[in-house]
Amino acid sequence: MSDQARIHEVWTAARSRLGATRRVELGRIGQQQLDRFAVAVDGSVADDVVGLAAPLFLSSVLVWDNGPLERDLLPDGNAADPFSGFDVAGLRLMAGGQELTFHRDLEAGALVSLDIALAGAELKTTANGPLLVLTVQRTYSDEDGPLSECRETFLGREALS
């Protein structure tokens, strides 16, 4: 199967999942998770920005459960089924960016749930070959309602042989 056939296959599978929402319970967010995130963000910055990126913590975490066993990861280290419903093996996926609305601040101790849906799957033709653009819609909520909404784009190209 050619790479181009593979990207079409993933596109077709993705379209079949459009709009299907699932809920994931993320558990209680611990102070240490937020503190470690703050330290990682600050590490490359000359000035002190500890804690200033905290609103992006939830949407930066890629995997909330343990994730696949190491032997089940793709050669690039990613999970084969990061969107729960279709396999992206054979593609290289990169984060394209996010659009967020922050309703309330995340506080340590919050019991957070995530509603996630695949909101878009487009196959584009570019000078560098076909490009799959996947859009994921997420809403993070705690016991008191929505905390933030995130619309994230992922860009997929065929894997290098």
């Binding site: 920005v49 200033l52 994730g67 690039d76």
Partner: protein, 136 residues
């Protein structure tokens, strides 16, 4: 309208990505993508180093806004795009400018560029001022 009229420049944030902070960011976000920590792997995709996470670009843009804003308000909306890769050794500069203002909100355009002037990540934030700051 006294707080940050249109044209106000945000204090610049300088970022020098380090392998250690990329590793820590991978760990804390449970991101196993080898392109962020495995230099030989990153080279197979043609990159000169391990890549700064797209989400980390977003974090530095948002930190720039919130450091400037202080207690004058809160960020309501924020977006960014990953346009060009960055690697350890790069010197990234995050700038921002107020482009729209009304009584209660300011819209800020953001940009992260590398040492060659290449835009790595443009962004935009809408902040809502506190009642005190929005008072005429």
């Amino acid at each position: 309208m006294t707080f940050a009229p249109v044209g106000t420049e945000l204090p610049v944030l300088e970022v020098r990505p380090s392998e250690i902070s990329l590793f820590r960011f991978s760990a804390v976000t449970w991101n196993p993508h080898r392109i962020h920590y495995d230099l030989p792997y990153a080279a197979t995709e043609g990159y000169p180093g391990v890549l700064v996470h797209g989400h980390l670009h977003g974090c530095w843009l948002l930190a720039t806004v919130r450091r400037w804003l202080g207690g004058a308000g809160r960020v309501e909306r924020f977006s960014w795009q990953n346009r060009h890769f960055a690697v350890p050794g790069d010197v990234l500069t995050v700038t921002g400018r107020v482009v729209e203002a009304d009584r209660w909100t300011r819209t800020v355009e953001l940009q992260e560029t590398n040492q060659d002037g290449v835009v790595c990540a443009p962004g935009r934030a809408v902040v809502r001022l506190t009642e005190e700051e929005g008072r005429p």
